[in-house]
C-alpha cells in the first residue's frame, strides 16, 4: 500500500587535484531507513554529501531518486525531488527570524507563503524552538542553530534528508535530545535519513545500516553490529577513535 521511495548512488567518483576524495562509492536507501555514513576525518563523507546534493560536480557516477536522475540537475533543483541536507559548519540565514529560516525550506520547493508558515511553525514547535519563532537566527545558541537547520530541511517535506554531523559541538545531554528528536522521524515523516557522525552512541542508536568510508573508498557496509566487528573498520576508524 505504502509507496516507498529509493535513493541510490552508483559508482560515484570525485578527485581534487589528484586526490581521490570519493572513490567509486555506491549506496542506496529507502524511505523509513537511517543509514549511518562514518569514517575517519578526511575520508570523504562531506564531499559525498556535496556530490549527492549537486553542490559539487561529480567526475563520474549516477545519482537517482526514484526515476529522477538528480545527478544531472543544478543543486537548486534537487530539493524539488525530495532530497535536502544540513551542513557540518552551520549555515543558517543569520539576519532572518527562526520562522523565516524554516519557511525558506518550504518556499524553496515552491510551497505557498501561508502553507510554508504553517509548516514552519509546526516544525519549530516540534523541535522545541516554538518560543524562539520571532528571534533572529544569529541570536540562537549553537544547539538551537543546529535544530533550526534541521527544521528548514524538513520544511521542504523531503523524502530523504542528509545530516552532516548534526551533533558536532553539542554536549552529551544535547546529543541525547537530538537522538530522541530524530529517532521517530523515519516513521512519522516517512523519510530516509543519511547521517554523518563521529558520535558512535548516536550512530548505534539511530541507524539501521552503516556505510564506512576510508580514503574515499567503501571499506564496509551492513548491519551496525556486523560493521562494528569488521576488522578493517576497527583498524581504520573505531580503533583510532578508541585510542
Amino acid at each position: 500500500m505504502e509507496s516507498k521511495s529509493t535513493f541510490s548512488v552508483k559508482e560515484l567518483n570525485k578527485s581534487f587535484a589528484g586526490l581521490k576524495a570519493v572513490d567509486n562509492v555506491s549506496l542506496h536507501l529507502e524511505t523509513g531507513e537511517v543509514l549511518g555514513l562514518i569514517g575517519p576525518n578526511g575520508s570523504g563523507k562531506t564531499t559525498l554529501i556535496n556530490l549527492m546534493t549537486g553542490m559539487l560536480d561529480k567526475d563520474s557516477g549516477h545519482i537517482s531518486l526514484d526515476s529522477h536522475n538528480i545527478g544531472e540537475m543544478p543543486a537548486y533543483r534537487v530539493p524539488f525531488y525530495g532530497l535536502v541536507r544540513t551542513y557540518q559548519t552551520i549555515r543558517i540565514f543569520k539576519n532572518l527570524s527562526c520562522l523565516e529560516n524554516a519557511m525558506i525550506g518550504a518556499l524553496g520547493v515552491g510551497t505557498k507563503h501561508r502553507e510554508a508558515a504553517r509548516l514552519a511553525v509546526g516544525l519549530l514547535e516540534e523541535l522545541g524552538l516554538g518560543d524562539k519563532i520571532d528571534l533572529p537566527a544569529q541570536s540562537l545558541t549553537f544547539r538551537d542553530q543546529r535544530l533550526l537547520e534541521i527544521a528548514r530541511a524538513l520544511a521542504a517535506q523531503p523524502k530523504f534528508m542528509l545530516l552532516d554531523e548534526p551533533a558536532a559541538g553539542l554536549n552529551e545531554e544535547e546529543t541525547d535530545e537530538l537522538l530522541s528528536l530524530l529517532k521517530p522521524m523515519p516513521h512519522s515523516k516517512k523519510i530516509g535519513i543519511i547521517i554523518v557522525e563521529h558520535d558512535m552512541r548516536l550512530i548505534m542508536n539511530l541507524c539501521n545500516r552503516l556505510h564506512v568510508l576510508n580514503y574515499g573508498k567503501t571499506i564496509a557496509e551492513g548491519k551496525p553490529e556486523d560493521v562494528r566487528n569488521n576488522p578493517e573498520v576497527v583498524k581504520a576508524y573505531l580503533g583510532s577513535a578508541a585510542s
Binding site: Y87, R91, G108, A117
Partner: protein
C-alpha cells in the same frame, strides 16, 4: 491482516497534528503596521509643509521625497541581496532622460536639442505616461544586461556594477542625439513634479518595496544574502531571484529619475554619478540597509543633516572661511562611523512596527517589568 492495517492507519490519522493556527503571524502589527506608520509620517509632514506654504521648504520636501524614492529602490536590491549596486544611479539617469524626452513637446525639443533623432523629437506623451515609460526604459535596459551579472557576488559583484555605471554614464554623456551629450539638457515648460506628485509616488513605492521584501521572492532573496550555499541547497536559484529584484529596482530608480528631471528641469549625465550614488548610499547605510524603515529614516535624517550643514557652510563661506565641500566630508565621516560601530544603521536592520513601538512605550515596559518581577518572586519562592 486488513484490520490491523486499518487500525494502524487510524492511529496515524490521529497522530497527524491539527492544522496550525498561524493567523498571529499575519496580523496587522506584523504585516502592515510598518507601511502604515511610514506613510503616515510622510503624509503628515507633507501636509504640514504644504499648509505652511513656504516655497523654500516645499522645495526641500519635494526634492527629499524624490530622494526617498531613489533610496527605496536602491534598498530593494542592495538591502535584500547584499550586493552594492553602483549601477543604480545609472538607471535613475536613464529614467530621467527617457521620461523627459517622452514628455517634452516636439517644438521645445527642436529648439533645445537640435541634434536629436527626428523620431524622438516627434514622440510626445502626457506626463504620467512619460514617467511610467521612462521607468520602463530603465527597467528594460536592466532586464537586457543584468542576467550574466547576477551570478557575481561580494567584491566581484560590486566591481562589475561599478564598471557598468561607467558604461551607462559614458553613454548618457556622449550620445548627443538622445541626451544632448555633455551639454545641459533643458526640459523647458513648468515644473510637473509637484509636492503631491512626489508624495503620491513615494507612498506607492513604500508599499511596493515593503511588500516585496515580505513576499516569498523577497524572503528568498534575503536568504541568498545571508548564505548563498544554504539558499541554493534549499531550492533557491539565486541568479533568478536577484535578477527579478535588480530589474524591479531599476524600474523604481527610473521612476525616481523621471520625477527628478521634471522637478529640477535641467539635467546632465553628471547629475547621475558618483556623488549622487554616495548620497543614496550614505542614507541607506546610516538608516540601516536591511530594512525599508532604514532607507526611510536614513533619508529623513541625512536630508535634514545636509540642509543644516549646507546652511553652516554658507554662513562660514560668507564670513570668509573656505568651507565648501565640508557637508560631504561630515556625511562621509558619519557613514564610516556607522559602518564601524553600528553597521546595521539606526534601525539595526529591523522594521519599525507597531509591536516595536509598543514595546518601547512606558506601559509596555511596565508590563514587562511586572512579568520580570513575578518571575523573580517565583524563583525566590
Amino acid at each position: 491482516m486488513n484490520l490491523a492495517k486499518k487500525l494502524s492507519n487510524q492511529q496515524e490519522n490521529i497522530k497527524q497534528p491539527a492544522a496550525k493556527d498561524i493567523s498571529q503571524y499575519f496580523d496587522f502589527s506584523r504585516k502592515s503596521s510598518t507601511v502604515v506608520i511610514l506613510i503616515a509620517i510622510l503624509v503628515v509632514i507633507g501636509y504640514f509643509i504644504w499648509w505652511l506654504n513656504i516655497p523654500f521648504i516645499e522645495d526641500i520636501f519635494t526634492a527629499g521625497t524624490i530622494t526617498l524614492i531613489m533610496t527605496l529602490g536602491f534598498q530593494l536590491f542592495m538591502g535584500n541581496s547584499g550586493i552594492l549596486n553602483w549601477s543604480y544611479v545609472g538607471y535613475v539617469g536613464i529614467g530621467a532622460f527617457a521620461s523627459a524626452i517622452f514628455s517634452m513637446t516636439p517644438a521645445v525639443k527642436t529648439m533645445q536639442i537640435p541634434t536629436m533623432y527626428p523620431f524622438l523629437i516627434n514622440l510626445h506623451l502626457p506626463f504620467p505616461v512619460a514617467l511610467l515609460a521612462g521607468a520602463l526604459v530603465a527597467m528594460t535596459v536592466a532586464a537586457i544586461i543584468a542576467w550574466p551579472l547576477m551570478r557575481l557576488s561580494d567584491a566581484v559583484g560590486a566591481i562589475t556594477q561599478f564598471a557598468l555605471l561607467i558604461v551607462i554614464n559614458v553613454m548618457l554623456s556622449q550620445w548627443s542625439q538622445v541626451t544632448n551629450g555633455p551639454r545641459t539638457f533643458t526640459l523647458g515648460g513648468k515644473r510637473l513634479t509637484t509636492l503631491w506628485v512626489a508624495l503620491g509616488v513615494a507612498v506607492l513605492v513604500i508599499i511596493a518595496v515593503y511588500y516585496f521584501k515580505e513576499s516569498s521572492l523577497g524572503l528568498k532573496l534575503r536568504a541568498t544574502r545571508d548564505d548563498r550555499y544554504a539558499a541554493r541547497s534549499s531550492g533557491i536559484n539565486f541568479v533568478a531571484v536577484r535578477y527579478c529584484a535588480y530589474v524591479a529596482s531599476a524600474f523604481i530608480g527610473g521612476l525616481a529619475g523621471g520625477l527628478y528631471s521634471h522637478y529640477i528641469l535641467s539635467i546632465t549625465a553628471a547629475s547621475f554619478y558618483m556623488s549622487e550614488l554616495f548620497m543614496i548610499l550614505s542614507m541607506v547605510v546610516i538608516g540601516g540597509s536591511m530594512s525599508v524603515s532604514g532607507a526611510f529614516f536614513g533619508t529623513l535624517l541625512v536630508t535634514l543633516l545636509r540642509q543644516f550643514l549646507r546652511q553652516v557652510e554658507l554662513f562660514l563661506t560668507r564670513s570668509g572661511f573656505e568651507a565648501s565641500g565640508s557637508t560631504e566630508i561630515v556625511v562621509a565621516v558619519l557613514m564610516i562611523i556607522f559602518l564601524i560601530w553600528q553597521a546595521d544603521g539606526i534601525t539595526g536592520g529591523r522594521e519599525l512596527s507597531w509591536r516595536s513601538i509598543k514595546r518601547r512605550l512606558p506601559s509596555g515596559s511596565k508590563k514587562r517589568n511586572k512579568v520580570l518581577k513575578n518571575k523573580k518572586q517565583e524563583e525566590k519562592a
